[in-house]
Structures are given as C-alpha cells and as structure tokens.
C-alpha cells in the first residue's frame, strides 16, 4: 500500500496551499468587517459618556505609544522569521518567533494593565456606552492578539518537532498574514480611538 507521503503530489499540494491561503484571506476579510462594525459602533458611542469619564480622562499617551511600539516591532520580527523560513534556517525561525512572542506578550501585558487601571478608577465597561464600546473594540483586538500568541507557540512547537516542512511553512505564512492584519487593525485603533481622544 502506498501512503500519501510516498507520492509525488507536489503540484496537488501547491494547489491545496493556495486554496488554504485564499480561504484565509476570506476569513481575514470577514474579520475585517467585524472590526469595521466595532469601529462604527465605537464612533456612534464615543459621545455617550453618560456623565462618566470621557476619552480625555482615561487614555494615557505613554502607555499607548509603548503598546504601539511593541506591536509594530513584533511585526518586524515576524518578518525576519519569515525571511529565515524561506532560507530554511530552523534555528533562526525559532529565535525570531520567540522574540515576536515576547513582544506580543508585552503588548498584552500593557493592555491588561491599562484595562485594570481603568476599571480600578471606576471607568470599567459597565460605566457608560462609550466605555462599553471602547473595551469591546480594543478587547476584541487584544483577544485576537492572544489567539495569535497561542498560534505562535503552536507553530514554534511544529517547527521544533517537525522541522520546516511544506505544511508547516504554509501555516507559518498564514500566521504571518494574521499577525500583520492585527498590526493594521491596531494602527486604525490608534488613529480612530486614541489619537482623537487625546488631542
């Protein structure tokens, strides 16, 4: 009996990866619509502070700049990991994935701190429509980043145990799409939520 691995089906495999990439793009588009609607909701709600804190009262520029720096940097380090991937350097891939993970985890750490601080000050999501929309929009992005972190860990495991096989490389490429997508969303959050709130 032949097994799949024995067959030379590289053309078929290439097609499969192409289908998966295309499907993943569609998922990202669908996810982008979710974010677009959360942005729209935030813009509708941003004035509804209900006598509670307004954006000016709760946003801290320093922290947001730090968060932005971490996330943008993590996109760059992921890029380096992708270059190492195409060069087939397993060790470097692992190293730069780990750096990406740490930067992303730093981002999440800062964001959790921000949320906890706001809640402690009485500016939690239950306070007003504005804060509900803020926590949901930024929190949804944070949730995505957390899922991305788990995915990075899983892929590090796969690279470590399986090596850079075709399926692993294909998955890493899609993880890259996801990670850069979250970066773009963050840039929009920064410009739509934090900047107007602070200016």
């Amino acid at each position: 009996m032949t097994t799949v691995a024995d067959m030379t089906i590289s053309h078929r495999d290439a097609e499969r990866y192409e289908e998966k990439d295309f499907g993943f793009w569609l998922y990202l588009m669908s996810d982008a619509v979710i974010f677009a609607l959360l942005f729209a909701t935030y813009l509708i709600m941003v004035g509804n502070a209900a006598g509670g804190p307004t954006p000016k009262d709760v946003f801290e520029l320093d922290r947001v700049v730090a968060e932005t720096a971490l996330l943008l940097l993590s996109s760059t380090t992921f890029g380096i990991a992708a270059v190492a991937l195409s060069a087939g350097e397993r060790g470097k891939v692992l190293l730069w994935l780990a750096v990406t993970f740490l930067l992303g985890a730093g981002f999440i750490y800062l964001e959790i701190g921000e949320f906890a601080g706001m809640i402690a000050e009485g500016a939690g999501p239950q306070r007003s429509g504005f804060l509900s929309a803020f926590f949901t929009l930024v929190g949804t992005h944070g949730l995505h980043v957390s899922v991305g972190l788990c995915w990075i860990l899983v892929m590090m495991g796969q690279v470590y145990f399986k090596g850079i096989t075709a399926p692993v490389a294909s998955r890493l490429m899609r993880l890259g799409l996801f990670w850069h997508f979250l970066d773009i969303i963050w840039v929009v959050i920064f410009s739509v939520v934090y900047l107007p709130g602070l200016l």
């Binding site: 004035g47 509804n48 502070a49 209900a50 006598g51």
Partner: protein
C-alpha cells in the same frame, strides 16, 4: 392520445381550481376589508397613504398580469404531451426579450421612485400638516402597557384615551418610558416608534368625527395585546368640554403619581389627571440621557445612526 389529453386537462383543471380557491379567499376576505382602516381612512394623511398604495398596485400590474398569463399559458400550451406546440430546445437567448424584461421593470421602478420621493416627503410624519394653523400639541408617553397622553397647553393628562378636535392638525411628540413601542391610529395615519431617551413625532388630522382605535403595534411584552386606546375626534366645542371634564379630575399627575403609574400594568382604564407636573415629557426623556448632549430631545436624534 386521449389519455394524454385527459391528463393535461386534469392539470389545467387543478390549476384553475387552485386559482379559484385563492380568488375566493381574497373575495370573501374583501367583505370586511372595505371598512378597515387601510381602505376607509378618516384623515388626509391616511387617505394619501392609501392612494399611494392604490397607484403603486396598479402600476405593478404591468408586470404581475403578464406573469400570470404567461405562467398559465406556457404551462398549458407547452405541456410535454402537447405535440402540436413548437419545441425549440436551443432557444436560450433573444435580444428583444432581454431588453423588454430588463427595461419594463426598470421603467416601472423609475416611475415608482418619483412617486416614492414625492409622497415620502409629503407624508413625512414630522412635517406640519398646515403651516398656517397652529396644531394641537399632544405628548405621548409609552409605558408598560399603556399610553399616557399629555396636553401641555391645557395642563391635563389622560391614560389610554386621546381626544382631538376634528379638522385641526394634531402634533404628537412621542417618547417611551420603557422598551420600544410604536404608536398608530390606523384610521388617521401611519405609525412611528417610541424610544426611551429620544423623541419622535407624528402629525395627524381627523377630517370626520368619530371614535377610532389606536394602539402600540411594536411587540413589548406580556401586556402588549391590551395596549390600546380610543381616539375621539370631536367638534371644537365638544373638545373644549372634554378638556374641562378632564380638568375636573381630582388627581394631579405629580412626580410621585407618575412613578406609580409608570410601573407595569395591564388593561388600565381611562384615567384623567390635572394638573400635570411641568416639563414631565422632557424629564422622562432626560432621565435616560444623563446629560449627553447628543441625546437631548427636540432634535431629530433618531437619525444619528444612519
């Protein structure tokens, strides 16, 4: 061959039977509908709305009737057993037909669109009916499960009853002290939603005396079915007398009475109140807006989300 014809006949008789049943249903049903609010309006707004309905139905017949005829004709004529009918299995494209099937519905829609804009502007419930006449001001507040009508110019309020002088425009400001409601008096005109913290408006006029039912038509919970009231369109003198009658009421609608009244209750009898807490309507809106400027009343805030 005879068998085949018999079968075809059976088909056509079945189809005509079905059509007849459907037609009969509509006809029988028609008996009651002529006195119904849609076809027998008692005010110019509802009348205009009905006329638009008639016009649009008539113009749509340009498409509907050919469909009925073609469906019946093709079904019978081109039944497989009818070997006399022409059969062109490759006939799948014909320019003139394409042009007709796109352009005729499109032309109808263009016609409809013009009427739609004209009537939508004319019948916008926010538009004053006659700018030269000062309308009677009424404030309607939806509660679980009743309507409170406040007459701010007369310092009276009524639960589950609305009175208005005939031939005088009435401007109703509407809000809700509970979930979303929708106020309608079908014989006089269309509906508009009532929402907490927001104000909507309905301009109506009755051109005939009479009693017309009105109600909430937006499902609002277990007391929904009984959330109805009577509207009395009466002469100017009768209306003044009615206001006097309400003013005789021993009950004042102050903040405390209002709180009790606003609690959920069903089948509340008509109740008269006078005097009424000043600015009651604005306070009810205000209690949901918490100083948020963009949700203050008197502007058309329902538009904000579009």
């Amino acid at each position: 061959m005879i068998v085949r014809h018999a079968r075809a006949l059976r088909w056509s008789s079945r189809i005509s039977a079905a059509t007849a049943v459907a037609g009969l249903t509509v006809l029988c049903a028609g008996c009651g509908v002529v006195e119904g609010p849609t076809l027998d309006p008692k005010g110019p707004i509802a009348l205009s709305e009905r006329n638009l309905l008639f016009k649009a139905t008539a113009i749509m017949m340009i498409v509907i009737i050919p469909v009925f005829i073609m469906a019946a004709w093709f079904t019978i004529r081109y039944r497989g057993t009818n070997r006399k009918a022409r059969y062109t299995p490759n006939f799948d494209f014909y320019w003139p037909a394409e042009i007709v099937v796109w352009s005729v519905p499109a032309a109808i829609v263009v016609w409809l669109a013009f009427h739609l804009w004209e009537y939508t502007y004319k019948l916008d419930p926010y538009t004053e009916i006659d700018p030269s006449v000062k309308p009677l001001q009424v404030q309607a507040i939806a509660q679980d499960w009743k309507w409170l009508f406040v007459y701010p110019e007369h310092d009276v309020a009524v639960v589950n009853e609305l009175a208005m002088p005939v031939n005088t425009p009435v401007s109703i400001e509407i809000t809700s002290d509970t979930v979303m409601n929708s106020l309608v008096i079908p014989k006089l005109g269309g509906q508009i939603y009532a929402m907490a913290g927001m104000q909507t408006r309905l301009n109506l006029v009755a051109d005939e005396k009479g009693t017309f039912w009105g109600r909430n038509v937006q499902y609002s919970g277990k007391g929904f079915a009984d959330q109805q009231f009577q509207t009395h369109a009466m002469s100017k003198d009768d209306f003044d007398a009615w206001i006097e009658k309400v003013k005789q009421s021993s009950k004042a609608l102050d903040a405390a009475t209002y709180e009790t009244l606003a609690k959920p209750s069903q089948k509340v009898p008509v109740t008269y109140y006078s005097p009424v807490e000043p600015n009651l309507f604005d306070c009810i809106i205000g209690k949901y807006s918490h100083g948020d400027v963009d949700r203050m009343p008197l502007s058309r805030k329902a538009e904000t989300t579009e």
